[in-house]
Amino acid sequence: MTIDTIAGTAVELNDEGFLVDPSQWTEAMAVELARRDGIDPLTDRHWQVIRFMRRQYEDTGSGPNVRMLGKTSGIPTKELYQLFPKGPAKTAAKVAGIPKPRGCI
């Protein structure tokens, strides 16, 4: 775990760069977190996914996996990979400041 300054605020990040406390997240942090993963700038479509991830987390306590995201976010799976090339569920969760979607076994 490390303390890092993102968009002017000191926050705790886990070993994979996910925010430890999702309530500290701000939209300004999303811009900075996305840039660190090579996504710059954040388009409206990115924001649609990020806001969807936040809502899902608030409603269910965890972020959706890729297929659920493709079925429910209104953005087709193919485009999700174009927006977040390193894996939409994982990267969008990181940018949205929520925990990594719980792995399936």
Binding site: R67, M68, T77, Y81, C104, I105
Partner: protein
Amino acid sequence: MMVGDGKWRQRSRMDRIVVLGGGTGGTIAANRLRRAYREDEVSITVVDQDDRHLYQPGLLFVPFGLAHAEDLVRPRGRQLQRGIEYVVDPIDHVELERRCVHLEEGRELPYDVLVVATGAVLAPEETDGLTGDGWMEKVFTFYDLDGAQALAERLELFDEGRLVVNVVEMPIKCPVAPLEFCFLADWYFRQRNVRDRVEIAFVTPLDGAFTKPVASRRLGGMLEERGIELVTEFDTGEVDGVGGKLVSYDERAVRFDLAVVVPVHNGSAYVARSPGLGDPLGFVPTDEHTLQSTVSPDVFALGDAANVPTSKAGSVTHFEGEVLVENVRRFLAGQPLDASYDGHANCFIETGFSKAMLIDFNYDTEPLPGRFPSSVGLPLMKESHLNHLGKLLFQWFYWHTLLPGRDIPGVHSAMPMSGKDWRLVPTEEVSAS
């Protein structure tokens, strides 16, 4: 029940328990419930769309000629004890507010407790191209009986080229089965003296051979020893049966002459037709410790139908059965539930050459070496002939001990720690997709 118990006095009629699904979970739950209640206390009805109970662990062996379809299927109704009503009729939908199950033929089944055990269904049509040209010719699955039998015929003729085993996306039933398929394929082609002309590749969306670190390293090593290529973090976007390639969403391609694909899984279709019952994939949101659904307190779920974060596997369903039945009993008696299911899973991994490996784990403890269920038991995380015999014997236990809802001696719902070696617990974590 004692006279003076308020619940007993209020009860003007029998409680009705309806179990959806006559597979592993539904059969175990119904049989255990039947023993927990007298027939004049509670009625139990099981519903399924057909009367064919498939021993799913046997599917793995069919493509290699090691098991035959007729030996894997028995009538569902015959696995249920006396005093359980068995209805063969597809489910149309569940009406949570009215506590009522609607069947396709028009019959309605009102319930006081609903147990959802309708498993997972394959959805190959959700992957572009998978069921297009080449399906059941160059592209197969062994996750259903028709596919496994068709693949057996194809494998017999396959003595040269590139075999690719692909998991499209997690979660899938029995997550070790695709690896077992690779190990058995290696054995199969060696037996036929053509292994040097056949390439085998395992293509997975995970970042290793398996999800849990110690097992992932061990199984990854076993692929390497057998000369099986491992392609990781591959999210299959398209299967091109004619061109013979898998294409990932990030536009990598894996070539094949023969592809064995495990399609994505959904919950049963009626779940999507039942307002409020399932998540977007058709699995029932369920408390991972009590097995009570989070959609309605009178709905419980077990096995592959539930969205709990453990393997979709028969052993899991068996261990869940014990906790589920206790909690249904407590719910009907108005008592607090017992939050004791720990995610315990236990799998034999067939590794070829009449050997198998055993792994045992739960929500918090990954598979570890040692012995199961205690220090004098079967070897864990190690290939052995004894485990292979265990895997073969298991089919007998399945029909005669597991489904009737009896306990296997020495094997309990809670994961045992006594025979395990703690020292190998690593600090890093392997991430899942």
